[in-house]
């Protein structure tokens, strides 16, 4: 008796079919996970190339390479691509690959919808890219797309809006699928409080996605009707209010940034115990902290708009609510440190990236606390300080953990060990250059350099130059990453099922052979 049924005419238990149709029609969570990860990797380089255009232009004061309109398109597209094309798909890829294996499920709960959510992502990506070649250029009003500025976008506006609709539908479908999988597909005996932290953080992330992606869809729909169908939502002459857009956008936008960071927390909580050879410290408090962070994410949105002219009560509420976020986040950071405390630590590449994450993410968190203080934010608002802040939490934060997760599971996926020596070179290059890239931006911001500006006063020249050098170093260091991944897929030292010493104790996925068979846990494992 098998625990999984397939349609009678399908017999691909011996392995998948070959060619493009395999990928187009697949419903296998591992195939779809791979597609998500490859898509994310490609977008990571595309978005990174756009960042390098920005850093090249800012290397010196004055206009050298691109015109200001294109520069603004680059900042806008860089953000949209990194958020919706790189980071979110990378996490969806990890979720697809790992969650069924971590909870002992044969596949995702809704496999056909899983296929559709990936291909909708591609469709949304194609629409977004097409805007680069349109009359009037790609959207250039920033990824936040504030009206009335964004309504001046040329032909690309409806394409950008519909691409957001498609990406939103794709994310909602992926999130519904993941939540349904976690609630319904766990192996018998795996209670909610026995789930791995990565699964927990994705459950909460899934909830956030389902809650806020429709909000974003609504906001951009109103932009569309304001531009093409004569509505006045954001036009004061008709009784509307442009600030309304900012409220709606950030009601989506703040939970969205937590969508980008919560799975990261889950990865750190997964990786640290393995390399510290200790169970995770304070599992329950980690779960509760995640839930509290998710709840708080809904009541802090207006800290993105302290300077817009809110009533004083609003400024105060959002200031204190924002500061509260530091409490559950602090719980997490201390728990990670406590997990490492007196552990038998080794520093393979995933652990190196994770330790760097804990330190540098916390640094980004501290500058976040500075920004939370409303009167201080009046000074920092829209300056390079904010750019430094969110890049510290997103690059050495989120992106580092995506890299760590890739190194951590790559042997499991491919069956080969990656080149540890080269990976360590990649780590040191990345960690040093990322700080050269973003640390000086704090100073630039505090000295008054505004963000989203192609030219600047001569006094900012030195730090910009340092930052640009760091940017190019960081960008080209990632080619090492690409090289390692390709090499590992094509061959290398055979990996054992457990891969990391003692990992079997830390998760079901390590009880499977490497590379993982195409179908796993067709009969649910027994959980003690």
């Amino acid at each position: 008796m098998s625990a999984v049924t397939s349609a009678h005419d399908e017999h691909d238990d011996h392995g998948p079919k070959k060619g493009f149709m395999r990928w187009l029609t697949t419903t296998n969570h591992k195939d779809i996970g791979t597609m998500y990860l490859v898509f994310a990797l490609v977008m990571f380089f595309v978005g990174g190339a756009m960042a390098l255009v920005i850093r090249a232009e800012l290397f010196e004061p004055g206009l050298q390479f691109v015109n200001p309109q294109f520069f603004n398109s680059m900042t806008t597209m860089h953000a949209l691509i990194m958020i919706f094309g790189a980071v979110m798909p990378a996490f969806a890829g990890f979720a697809n690959w790992m969650i069924p294996m971590m909870i002992g499920a044969p596949d995702m709960a809704l496999p056909r919808m899983n296929n559709m959510s990936f291909w909708l992502l591609v469709a949304g990506g194609v629409l977004l890219f097409s805007t680069l070649f349109m009359e009037g250029g790609a959207p250039a009003a920033g990824w936040t797309m504030y009206p009335p500025l964004v309504l001046q976008t040329g032909n690309s506006l409806p394409f950008a809006i519909f691409s957001i609709h498609l990406l939103g539908v794709s994310s909602i479908m992926a999130a519904i699928n993941i939540v349904a999988t976690i609630f319904n597909m766990r192996a018998p005996g795996m209670g909610l409080m026995k789930m791995p932290m990565f699964v927990w953080t994705w459950l909460i992330t899934g909830f956030l996605l389902i809650a806020v992606m429709p909000v974003f869809a609504g906001a951009v729909t109103m932009l569309l009707t304001d531009r093409f169908f004569e509505t006045s939502f954001f036009d004061a002459a008709g009784g509307g209010d442009p600030v309304l857009y900012q409220h709606i956008f950030w009601f989506f936008g703040h939970p969205e940034v937590y969508i980008l960071i919560l799975p990261t927390f889950g990865l750190a909580s997964t990786i640290i115990p393995v390399f510290a050879r200790k169970p995770l410290f304070g599992y329950h408090s980690m779960v509760y902290a995640t839930i509290v962070i998710a709840f708080l994410s809904f009541v802090v949105w207006a800290h993105h708009m302290f300077t817009v002219g809110m009533p004083i009560a609003g400024e105060l509420f959002f200031m204190y609510a924002t500061m509260l976020v530091a409490v559950p986040t602090g719980v997490k950071v201390f728990n990670w440190i406590a997990t490492m405390w007196k552990g038998a630590m080794t520093f393979e590449t995933p652990m190196l990236f994770t330790v760097a994450f804990v330190v540098l993410f916390t640094l980004g968190g501290f500058s976040g606390l500075m920004l939370a203080i409303a009167p201080a934010d009046f000074q920092y608002h829209d300056s390079y300080f904010i750019v430094a802040h969110f890049h510290y939490v997103l690059v050495p934060g989120t992106v580092f953990m995506i890299i760590a997760g890739t190194y951590y599971w790559l042997p499991k996926w491919t069956g080969h060990r990656y080149n540890e020596k080269l990976a360590k070179v990649h780590f040191w290059m990345s960690t040093i250059s990322v700080n050269v890239l973003f640390f000086p931006q704090h100073f630039l911001g505090l000295a008054g350099m505004p963000r989203r500006i192609p030219d600047y006063a001569v006094q900012f020249a030195e730090f910009n130059m340092i930052s640009s050098v760091g940017g190019f170093l960081f960008g080209f260091s990632q080619l090492i990453f690409l090289y390692i991944i390709i090499k590992t897929i094509r061959g290398g030292e055979k990996a054992t099922g457990e891969v990391w010493e003692g990992a079997k104790k830390h998760g079901l996925e390590w009880t499977l052979p490497s590379p993982v068979p195409y179908h796993t846990f067709e009969t649910p494992p027994k959980i003690k």
Partner: protein, 288 residues
């Protein structure tokens, strides 16, 4: 192998990518229409047709699989979870427009009229003499003079229609449970008819607004919120009525049993959700 003992996992899916292609072409076509490009319309038609083909194909496939007993209890729970979370996402979508209405009516229109003005607040300087009221089409009298939509008349009739349809769909559900096919089918027919009747009356109401009351989507922020909220609701009523029509046809063909009728329940949940949204609309858009 019997499917009762296993979680059904389909291999090779065609409809998802067909639907994706259709949606992408349809939206790209719509964007081209908005940019006054001649290729927009044909693209939209091709895309829309593809989406319809996908829906027919995918629904048929699911119906065949369901009737041949391939979905066990666990699969059914996955579908239920999927539908519940989907409805939650729809709730959030409507929350945006209700939130917009609240913010505009209770905060920003007042600010525009100078409420809360003090030293340093300059709102009323830009629109001197503007008195904030509701409904309003703003200080610019955008869209010209108009008459706001009253609550009694067609909207009240539609409220009664939608509430009764909630009753008939529950009656149909009872028919399903007590294995009375006649009651099931009659209940569904009544629900579908009431649903489309609602849409018809809403069309009539819109026609009246445009042709006689001067109330259009362009009538300032009142027109914007009115048509956006009621329009998206009407769209969802249409979607719900189509879902129920599919359920009706399947009931006719003898599908579903007393303990295996997820699609019926999903459509019914959706129908009740649409009903509740309407009550919110009736109170906040029409009545007050």
């Amino acid at each position: 192998m019997s499917s009762k003992d296993g979680y059904y996992i389909p291999h090779r899916a065609t409809w998802p990518w067909v639907g994706t292609v259709g949606l992408a072409i349809m939206l790209a076509g719509f964007a081209n229409v908005l940019n006054d490009s001649p290729i927009g319309k044909p693209m939209m038609i091709i895309g829309f047709a593809t989406v319809i083909i996908m829906m027919v194909g995918w629904f048929t496939l699911q119906a065949i699989e369901s009737e041949s007993g391939m979905y066990n209890a666990q699969v059914s729970i996955s579908y239920r979870l999927g539908m519940m979370w989907f409805i939650f996402s729809e709730v959030m979508f409507f929350a945006v427009f209700f939130g917009t209405l609240y913010y505009i009516r209770d905060l920003s229109v007042d600010w525009l009229g100078g409420v809360g003005d003090g030293p340093g607040r300059s709102t009323n300087m830009l629109w001197e003499g503007y008195q904030s009221t509701w409904p309003t089409n703003g200080p610019g009298n955008v869209g010209g003079d108009y008459e706001p939509m009253g609550a009694f008349g067609l909207p009240l009739l539609n409220t009664l229609i939608l509430l009764s349809s909630g009753v008939t769909v529950t009656w149909a559900h009872w028919g399903m449970i007590i294995k009375d096919r006649q009651q099931l089918i009659r209940g569904l027919i009544a629900t579908v008819v009431l649903g489309f009747l609602f849409v018809f009356f809403q069309g009539l109401e819109y026609h009246e607004a445009y042709s006689e009351m001067g109330l259009t989507l362009g009538s300032g922020v009142y027109g914007s919120t009115f048509f956006m909220l009621t329009g998206f609701h009407g769209l969802h009523v249409t979607i719900g009525a189509i879902m129920l029509t599919v359920v009706l046809f399947r009931s006719w063909k003898g599908h579903f049993t007393a303990d295996n009728h997820f699609v019926f329940e999903a459509a019914a949940w959706y129908w009740h959700f649409v009903d509740v949204v309407w009550l919110g609309l009736f109170v906040f858009v029409y009545l007050f």
